[in-house]
Assembly symmetry: D2
Homo-oligomer: 416 residues x 4
């Protein structure tokens, strides 16, 4: 290692150390408004307790980094390897997902101590000199661990929101009221020419394996809505009997609506005066007509789109449009910049089933289970949401959930 | 109210006040070794969180006493009437039983405050002068509330034990080890002549409505085992393939054993060296061969009895024998006193389905739902257990659970 | 074997042979109005196809008699031992109950051939000289087989009725209309003194093991309704909102009513003009107000009784009253004969859980599974129904079904 | 209508009439080896009784053609509109899918009469002169009805096979033994260049709406296996512990394998001597190592492909290769013709989720429900199977089933 490399290492490591501290601190901050009780409960098998998220993200660093790089590695607690394994068969046994809410031990305080121990050990590891190859591997794994933790930061918010919703007291995560949205403005259609376009991650920044390899797809000409569907617009669908008419629904969606007796989005309810209320992180508030409709499932998004005579975009259409917009935005006042709410409002369902890109290959070992094994019976969402951590979004990002999932911040951008 | 009556009231009230304070304090003490997290979780729909028990027992006093007797009654919290209603349709809506573990709010601290408020208000009420009839009604309801709280004190122990068992860390409720039992001694058969005997509660002390009215039953001559079945004896059944042979089981029990893939009692497990361990309030310990086998379901108790060539007693047999024993015990060194472990070890399954006594009538109003509506598809257990509060047992007491219930301290006394 | 014994044998055998032929012929006659398709289908796991009943009753004779007594026994078909075993673990494997309707093979014609083969072989066996002990055993088993077949004759009717009900065409088993009932007359209360009475089968005729041993019970004074509850009376309960008010229901029954969304008895429906219709073996007809209400579950019977301020009888009360009535009827115009519809209308729910009589013992071997292993979580019904075969009823007979069973001809006789 | 048009009509009508007669006759012929009982039973909700298939295909002609074109249309039976409606919400109510096996009425004979009536009325309709537009519409609907009936002819075979498999007697649909396959030969890889290719139906023959519109897709270079995976090859996966190793499975597939305790394909079993047997229309026979592995689910196909280091093709790859092969085959001895078993052996899973082609639009009215509403959570299969009717296959045909479906004749063609 020559001087220049060493300096570069030093600089990069320092960045990584700072970044590590910042990301880890945010997870703790997100749990701060909650009690140990709040952090322990699990409202449904799809959601996890906050405490479990805090422990599992630490487990990820411990299992994939400390165990690999620490000399004389000793686990923080011998049982944690099983308790906080989410789904990695390559690591071994795991605690039953639906029973995560029964883990009153280790206590919240013990999990905080676990976090501090992992933080200290990772920081110490980063301060050590390492051979180039080892350093590159460590940096790669650390970045993956941080991106992973950021994904869980979003899930912490969606999962706690569901827990609070299940409570008849309807407690708010944030005491302050949610600001009312500005007028949404008329929906515009932005046209794109299509053709053979490049899809997938091609630059040097971080991406998950499912965004690669970059490859070509052919897209017919298409148009996307300039903004997301609003509560006002979605309410019109509800009031028009949308949940009572099978004509708008996929067959499987219609069965689901009937079995679950659904009549409106998750977190909507009607108060004693028949006024609509919506539950969110700020508690129960009047429906904000100009806000983007959110907590919508794929089946609902698809039905709404059909009712309007439009459709959902494919993920290639969405990505190509987002790329055009940002390129245009970077250079000129181009029409493509009309596209609003691509990021940071709510995830946008696409009509694309979650599938591997041509040439996709999983990593060797347990980390190969990160994304690839979930590529069946899920739909891709694009963009990001109001609870996605800063810096954790990009045009090529592929989020995915089953067609019935409603507890995410997921909404609708129409296409035609 | 003359002086003498007033004095008597004062005395009785003081007793009630003291007793109220003592019973209420015990509930709090039982929760003391546990964290707020431990007290919030619910391990299965049949069990309730400790916090819910603490709140519901307070709700009982608030709903059935404060609401009835307090001038200008104001509820402690308007939502608690629904949140902590267990099963009284006469009171109105109730929170879904299976979702009690999601009530992270009200917090444990808020529930403790709820208890203190109810305690203060009940104490104040007891200090007020009341007309005789009102006083008698109040005293009756208060006694019912205390007996009710004692029932929940036992459930707090059985429910938290199940929760701790579900945790792979197998944490102990009590840090100290459980003392090893003395040698059980040989099982003796104690004979009873039967005939037309009186069954049911006939003295002046408290009893639940299901113990009344006292009435006659004809019993054939019978014999009861002098002590409960031990772990050593039950293990012999397990080791003899008892859980693999349908010949010993009721048809419904055999289906249950196969569906649940049962091979031994709840809380038994085999460690890496094939040694049996048993989980209890003191944690995981070696099977104590001389201890009474407990956490046995009706189906298991019945199968074990059939394997030995004996049977379970009827509840009339058990009660008659217990009455004989205590009468004998009070007067002389009669053979009947050989009957050991009638109380305070574990509840004893009888072959009697839980049914109303001839002439049984429920109370008017919501309190009529206390016992009567559960008289189907459950079996009567007699005696009391190691976690039954002091003073909360008697020969006429009728406990009841479904034939598959295993999380209670329930064992086997044989009959023939 | 001397001449007299031989003659007695000949006489008795001839009787048995004739009786065997008659009972077996009735089963075939009951299937005659049905097609092979009708006889193959299974409408729910609790019910069996007609073809299966026809085969299983033959299997009973083959397995328990031919296999035991025939020299060089060869099974009619090697697979039938498993296919047509109902629930005898002692015999070995059995075809899954819920899949009986998938047995399109053996065909209906093949099952008829199976019946003819068993008939011929049993008849041949009866014609052979046997030692006294063997003859007595054979006669006993044959009688059991015939009683067993008679039980299945009733089930054939209840099961096919349920199948036809599931068909939107609502086809009738009998083409002719059901005769309208005569006026039911006012309900009278018939009093009984009770005391220590004898219960159970004590004479020399056939009975099932669960009717024995005869023993004593103490009964308080009680009264029974002179006739069964009519459709008119039960309709008043329905119209009074009986299915919407938890006050009348056992807790478990109320859960069931809500989960199943029940509003009236099985086989009742409301036509386009809001008139009540009832489905039966004669098809869909107007509700006959004077007919006994039938296809009532235990939970419904209990709720109805509570609504009227009465209760269901215990099985001892029912049996004692029936014994008194028949004794009285045989000797004089005694008041007890007022009791109508004891037999041949519909089975009458008692409040007694199905349990062994004191001293009850099962037979050795697989036949010991006939009754005893079902003695949990079922309720006893007494009397007999309109589809019980002639001669297959007596005052000590104990029928039993779970508290939710509705497809039997089961009704209500009130007690107080 | 001039003479030439009339002649052309006459010719075309005569063809349609003949074709109608031939297709309808084949359905009847497929049912010929079966009894009325065989034709009535339903082995699982996904499968339908043969009798129901025979009636539903007639219902299709009656509802969509006779009702539209017959003067003074009278339904064959007023209840059939509901009884034999499969899934068309636009037509109204439908009989519950899982209860199709309970329809012992109408009888098999009555359904045959229904078929004859529909046949006669359609034939009469075709003999009538019609205006050009009406004739074109009629011809289009008739062709759709015939294609629909051919789809059900395949389902009749797959559904009856499943029913016979559920029978412990394992009866054969065909008495004759299945011929043993010739040696499969070594698997070759056939390469394709890809690029922007045309996908979807573009010629003038019949196709379903889901094959349109023809459109462009970009495909990277790829290779397909020259033949399907054989039983020998799939057995190697089974014997290598393929069903016990999560590494090969999609996460959802692994859950399914474990929940269902799967160890091998549907219809495989191991006899007493540990030899593999496979059940088929010819009954239970020894595993034919050179035959194509069939009755494989998507999850199994995907796991097998991953185990070999290959993958499943996309539907575009499959279609492009099939088009190339047939074009090449028509013109020259081109390498592409190496592709064997494209049709008539078993359907081939693709990795493509079933989704609408760009620009896809459903027909107006109830027929719009034919395909489009099923476009979620299913995977596309290409080719055709040994039970696909002659003439009912083409390179653009899109079959589709859920990822767990195993009762179809579905196998594996590898890609890389």
């Amino acid at each position: 290692m020559n001087v220049q490399t060493a300096r570069s290492h030093l600089h990069e490591t320092s960045d990584l150390t700072l970044r590590f501290a910042a990301v880890r601190a945010l997870s703790a901050a997100l749990a701060a408004p909650l009690s140990a009780e709040d952090c322990c409960a699990q409202s449904m098998p799809d959601a996890s307790p906050i405490k479990w998220h805090l422990a599992h993200t630490s487990w990820f660093f411990e299992t994939f980094i400390l165990e690999r790089f620490e000399a004389n590695f000793q686990p923080h607690h011998p049982a944690f390897r099983v308790l906080f394994n989410s789904y990695y068969n390559g690591i071994g046994d795991k605690h039953a997902r639906a029973q995560r809410g029964l883990l009153t031990r280790p206590s919240f305080a013990e999990v905080q101590a676990y976090r501090r121990d992992v933080d200290a050990r990772i920081t110490a590891l980063l301060a050590q000199p390492l051979a180039d190859a080892a350093h590159a591997e460590l940096a790669g794994l650390l970045e993956l661990g941080l991106q992973h933790e950021q994904q869980h930061q979003e899930l912490m918010m969606t999962d706690v929101l569901h827990l609070l919703w299940c409570n008849p007291l309807k407690p708010a995560y944030c005491a302050s009221p949610h600001p009312v949205s500005a007028a949404a403005g008329e929906l515009q259609w932005q046209s794109f020419k299509g053709g053979v376009v490049q899809i997938g991650h091609a630059d040097t920044g971080f991406c998950f394996d499912n965004e690669m390899p970059a490859h070509r797809q052919f897209i017919e000409p298409y148009a996307l809505a300039s903004r997301l569907v609003t509560n006002r617009e979605y309410l019109a669908f509800v009031d028009a009997g949308g949940y009572q008419n099978p004509a708008w629904w996929l067959s499987e969606g219609w069965d689901w609506v009937q079995t679950q007796q659904l009549t409106q989005p998750l977190y909507w309810r009607t108060d004693d005066t028949a006024a609509r209320q919506v539950f969110g992180l700020h508690g129960l508030q009047s429906l904000d007509p100009d806000a983007a409709a959110t907590h919508i499932s794929y089946f609902e998004a698809d039905a709404y789109a059909r009712w309007t005579g439009a459709r959902l975009p494919t993920e290639a259409e969405w990505e190509h449009a987002a790329m055009q917009s940002s390129a245009a935005g970077a250079t000129a006042r181009h029409a493509a910049t009309e596209l609003k709410q691509l990021f940071a409002t709510c995830w946008q369902w696409t009509s694309s089933s979650y599938a591997p890109y041509p040439g996709y290959a999983t990593a060797a070992g347990a980390l190969g289970e990160y994304n690839g094994k979930f590529m069946s019976n899920q739909y891709v969402l694009r963009g990001s949401s109001c609870v996605t951590p800063e810096g954790h979004s990009r045009a090529t990002y592929r989020n995915f959930f089953p067609a019935t999932a409603r507890w995410q911040f997921s909404g609708i951008r129409l296409a035609r």
